[in-house]
Subunit: 221 residues, 4 copies
Amino acid sequence: MKTSGANLDNSAAKRPARRNPESSKRALIMATLDTIAEIGITDTTVSKIIQRAGLSRGMIHLHFGGKNQLLAAAAKSFGQEYFDELDHRVQQATSGPEDVITAVIQADLSEALMNERSTRIWHAFRGAANSNDGIALYSSTRDKRLRDTLHSAFKKIAQEYGEAENSALARDATFGLLVLLEGMWVDYLTNANAFSREVAVSIVLRFIAGLFPNHFQQSQS
Amino acid sequence: MKTSGANLDNSAAKRPARRNPESSKRALIMATLDTIAEIGITDTTVSKIIQRAGLSRGMIHLHFGGKNQLLAAAAKSFGQEYFDELDHRVQQATSGPEDVITAVIQADLSEALMNERSTRIWHAFRGAANSNDGIALYSSTRDKRLRDTLHSAFKKIAQEYGEAENSALARDATFGLLVLLEGMWVDYLTNANAFSREVAVSIVLRFIAGLFPNHFQQSQS
Amino acid sequence: MKTSGANLDNSAAKRPARRNPESSKRALIMATLDTIAEIGITDTTVSKIIQRAGLSRGMIHLHFGGKNQLLAAAAKSFGQEYFDELDHRVQQATSGPEDVITAVIQADLSEALMNERSTRIWHAFRGAANSNDGIALYSSTRDKRLRDTLHSAFKKIAQEYGEAENSALARDATFGLLVLLEGMWVDYLTNANAFSREVAVSIVLRFIAGLFPNHFQQSQS
Amino acid sequence: MKTSGANLDNSAAKRPARRNPESSKRALIMATLDTIAEIGITDTTVSKIIQRAGLSRGMIHLHFGGKNQLLAAAAKSFGQEYFDELDHRVQQATSGPEDVITAVIQADLSEALMNERSTRIWHAFRGAANSNDGIALYSSTRDKRLRDTLHSAFKKIAQEYGEAENSALARDATFGLLVLLEGMWVDYLTNANAFSREVAVSIVLRFIAGLFPNHFQQSQS
DNA sequence: AATGAATGAGCTTTCATTCAT
DNA sequence: GATGAATGAAAGCTCATTCAT
């Protein structure tokens, strides 16, 4: 999935895709995301994007109406990329709410979803969301969808602990887990080298196990 | 502490600060931090900073040598502001490692340290650290000092659980707590309105209690 | 040839040049040379150049990458202008080395090559060459090519005086003539009004005649 | 004489001269000349000058009224430096006009007068003279005084060749010699390494000998 | 639909000059 | 006299956007 990576050689093998508007849009969005990941959103200029995409200058305004709208489209695309992968991984866990939660944790901390490229892009869009409404919209999507999925699962588990439908326990578990995952992304961003996915997963599970001791085994790292 | 806030009134009454280099430098740093908090680091220009500070254009290069060095100085100052306050609050907790840890949690999530201004600035400097070495240096300072303080406290507690000097438990607790606090700051940044400090503290303590049930009481929110 | 002169009329009638990069580059180079000739290289700013060329601010960086590179391109162009004219005039003298030398002298001191514009530009680039490598390269070209042409001619003549292939005589004659012409340009620069081309030519020829009395007749002014 | 050179250490040994207005003015002029010689007149800023002189910022305006006036004073001083040395050397040649002329040539091409520092400064002031009247005044002084000295000498010699008081011969000889020396300075400026003072003197003398064969022996290099 | 030369507002930076101390 | 912090006009440069082709 993350195979687009930082490739500057926009030469041979990519040409067949040309002369197709949708293909150009996709190429621009990918070039935008790659550029943001590589040099940061502040230094991501129209020139750098079109250079990486191997397309002409006017393309951005022709297809998106401007740089800001391209950024918004890239943010939206990035969110969808994330959820396509997450859904794919979580749908394979159908035996119960614990499995869904575990699947979310493992997916969110997997190489496919949490890597240098995605954490940098994520951070960039979070910052931009404060001053760019078009980005804000899609940037908050991650929390919203993830929150719903997790909340549903935690509510099912909480009921087995005698909690009511809208118990604080399920709400706090959802909140706590999301915050923990959020923090893990920031930590990965800060120092990818020293980051251990195994330790991360074990710590997150320990947190959940503290709330629901009957359902999550204390993993021993 | 956070009382500098967004003051645009560069009117008469503040002239005593003139002809004092240190005062000018401080004013520029404050204006820089306020501007970043308000409109983001990307839109923080020299013009906006000097306008807010009520000082002249050349000042920045006279005292700091350039915009980037002013940003670095602002990042350093911001980090020191954070630690001055944190140290002040933590030093009052001297009865044991649990108190230190609790004090750190409550301080880090307090209005004085975690607010809209500081979370936005924090986020901005994290992003800038990737491409600005001068900022990177001071931006990572927070983690380093906090990590040491917490690790020491957790090691003391872990020993009472029969753990060795350099146990994984103490390390994981430190890592987990920092990640959780990091995530809280991100969460606050994303949606300050819906954020509850009380819930945040209770969730963090629940995580710690899961690791050290004898020392941290499961608080009931 | 030197007809570009100081034209400040960037009015309507010259629009055909638009949308043609080469034409724009040429216009910028000409405007640069004219500006240097008029107000000196120190006062030659981007604003003055684009104003004279009737083009936009970004043009210089778009086509040359910066002011310094434009200056280097202008120096190169100026050198080529000089040699195109010199070659044209010298090639008509094919009957012998004396004719070549005389042609060089008369060409170099002619209105077409040595005038207020060219002497000022020449002086400016000489000075800039000390601190701008891009200019140094092309600024020294004049001496190199001229030196070779003259040295060849003088060697032929020197052989008729029984001198060896690499005689000091030919070398000194070349050096002396170049220095004399160099000095004439400086003198013209200093006071164009009092300068007499006829006296200049006669003096230079007298110098050559002193070295090769059989080949150059002592002209009487 | 040229011992001021490029010294950046404005420390100890120079202090006694302080608190003396004339001393400060001299220090500023020297720093100006050294800076021009080292980095060119375009890059010679007030900051660089006062830094090299080890004096305070306001000094220049206090003593000279502005940067331009300091440059004019430096140009004047430089011209006087040149003539003090030239006069000193020429006054020792009292036996006849030939000796005066030879002395001028040897002095003008000597290490003391023609060196990297002086040729660079000379070139800079020549260029600046076109746009700075205060400099123009003193920059042209060299030619004026030198011209008079040489013209007088050549007139005496010309009379022995049966020429009238205001003969063209004396005028041309003066002009030619000055131009030749001017050219030598330019040549030295362009490439000091390849320059040979001996060859230069011999070539200049050859030129004079061509005009006055009875008085100047054809030197053999 | 696609291109890329052209534009100019606005950016960071430089610098001679001023003036309170 | 002497200082150096302060000023702001003007410098070189960047870049999203436009539009003739």
